[in-house]
Amino acid sequence: MTLKRTSLPWTWLGIAGVAALGATWYFAFPSYLSLGISLLLLAGWASAWDLLGGWTGQTSLGHAAFIGLGAYTVGVTATKFDLAPWWSFLLAAAFATVLAFLWGRLTFGLRGSYFVLSTIAVAEILRLVAINERKLTGGAIGLFIFDLKEPFGFDLFSRHTEFWLALGYLVIVLVVVALVTRGKLGYQMRAVREDESSAQAAGINPVAVKSWAFMLSGALTAIGGCIYGIFLSALQPQPMFELHLSVRIALVAIIGGRGTLFGPLIGAALLTLAAELFRNTFAEANLLIYGLLIVVVVLFVPRGLMGALRARAVRRRYAKSAGG
């Protein structure tokens, strides 16, 4: 699709720019730290989602399953086993990888829309488990994280620590996405997205490629879920595993631009801003904006904002090189 990819130094510069913008937010809007954390986490999830949904072309509407898994891993291990949060983060990533592996085994061998249907089902089953296994998860009332071990003396319940944690998370996700999509796996992922049969003819195993993308995407999402769990510190099955959260993550990435490094981030910023602006008009019906926007994007900007910008730049570059 694109003739020449952005060169590597520009990518690192872009990610550094994101980090700098985040730091600016911290010092410029100290009273909007919670909003900043939500935005950074949403952007991180959407970028992680994009590894599978954008670069590999497998739309998932069940990524909330990983967020819930991450948050509950931190909650359960902290309250029941007194485990330090950094171990919980690793444990959550491991759980997510195993879940994604099994889930991929089940559905990636089938063509058609089976994967997307299964994602909703798996997330819903996990939500029902979280509601019903009261001994472990506190059921519908929820689980409360009262105290956590302090890594290097940082209080994890302070919004300041959480903000830096969320910013670090987003930067790590962006770096991973940048590295993976430039490597061999990244090319294989794109080949599978464009045409599975051709990819197979070129010696690529589509099931394995999709599984790798899913495991990476799931593990990264779960780590974001851990931070989300600490941020909320009261875990309930309702917002954690819900379809609406999965849908928001997917739509943010798609509106911003699937298969682009910064598209999901731009989508997250745009939709968080829109949700804040219309908060009073629509109250809790703010997903209305998501619904309207996705219809508009699907009809008129099918590649998303970033994808449309990139296509335009490529056209211009091509016209120049062709002497037109």
Partner: protein, 293 residues
């Protein structure tokens, strides 16, 4: 004989609710079969049907089963309109685009319902809601029996429409091969609009039938979308008779699971069945083969 009466009780309850699932699933399967669209807004139309029945009841005092005559045409027109305005533009786009478009429509519908009716649950009280008929030791609620009877009539009418009319023949032709159907002079864009309208009319009917049985909340739609997916995958994507079987099976599985295993997982049993079917027989219990990688 001790266990037989409760067993029959569960079986009949499951079959009665399963009939309504079948009605929802049939529309989804019909749309998928003809248009190759996975309609994420399907359950939202069930919700719109419920609210239509509630509005008719509260404003005009209409019995919910009479408001079927109003809801079905509204669903048909709304569905055909949405198809013409949104989905017809995506006819050659990837299946992902149509899926996302219907997902967007679903969000718009459920949030508009929320803005109009608020979050508090609404219901209809009909005098026969608490009456039951006893049949060989099995107690059957009158409201559910009526619902089952109406479902049967609607599905029979659909079957006659699809197999005994020229329109039905054109629909089946379009489902089998769109290009071939066009070559023999079938106006397939028109068939697509009519089929989508028909599917939405069926979903609205299911909503109206459910209205006296359940509380309506604006978010009820997504759970019915999920049930419809389960029904159609159980029966085989795109197969209308399969969807009827899948619906009845889902109803029975939910009822049996809730009474013999654990009631908290009631909604999960269908999903487990769905995953098992994906694992061992992805073409559905009643479907033909599916393409594997």
């Amino acid at each position: 004989m001790e266990g037989l009466a409760p067993f029959l009780q569960n079986l009949s309850g499951g079959l009665l609710i399963g009939g309504i699932y079948a009605l929802i699933g049939v529309g989804l399967s019909l749309i998928f079969g003809v248009m190759r669209i996975i309609n994420f807004a399907h359950g939202e139309f069930v919700a719109v049907g419920m609210y239509t029945a509630i509005v008719c009841f509260q404003l005009f005092g209409l019995d919910p089963y009479v408001s079927l005559l109003i809801a079905a045409p509204i669903g048909f027109l709304l569905g055909a309109l949405l198809q013409r305005v949104v989905l017809a533009r995506l006819i050659d786009a990837s299946s992902d685009s149509t899926l996302l478009a219907t997902l967007g429509l679903a969000l718009v519908i459920s949030n508009v319902l929320f803005l109009v009716f608020g979050a508090e649950p609404k219901s209809i009280y009909v005098p026969y809601a608490t009456q039951t008929v006893t049949l060989g030791g099995v107690r059957l609620p009158v409201a559910q029996l009526t619902a089952g009877a109406i479902t049967l009539v609607v599905i029979l009418a659909l079957w006659l429409l699809l197999t005994r009319t020229e329109f039905g023949r054109a629909v089946r032709a379009t489902a089998q091969n769109r290009l071939g159907a066009e070559l023999v002079g079938i106006n397939t864009p028109r068939i697509h609009a009519l089929v989508f309208g028909l599917g939405m009319a069926l979903a609205m009917c299911a909503g109206v039938i459910l209205a006296p049985l359940l509380f309506a909340v604006p978010t009820v739609g997504s759970s019915y979308t999920l049930k419809a997916f389960v029904v159609t995958v159980l029966g085989g994507l795109g197969s209308v008779p399969g969807a009827i079987g899948g619906g009845l099976l889902l109803g029975v599985v939910e009822f049996m699971g809730a009474s013999y295993l654990s009631s908290g997982y009631r909604d999960a049993y269908g999903l487990f069945a769905f995953l098992i079917v994906l694992l061992v027989r992805p073409e559905g219990l009643f479907g033909r083969s599916v393409k594997r990688v």
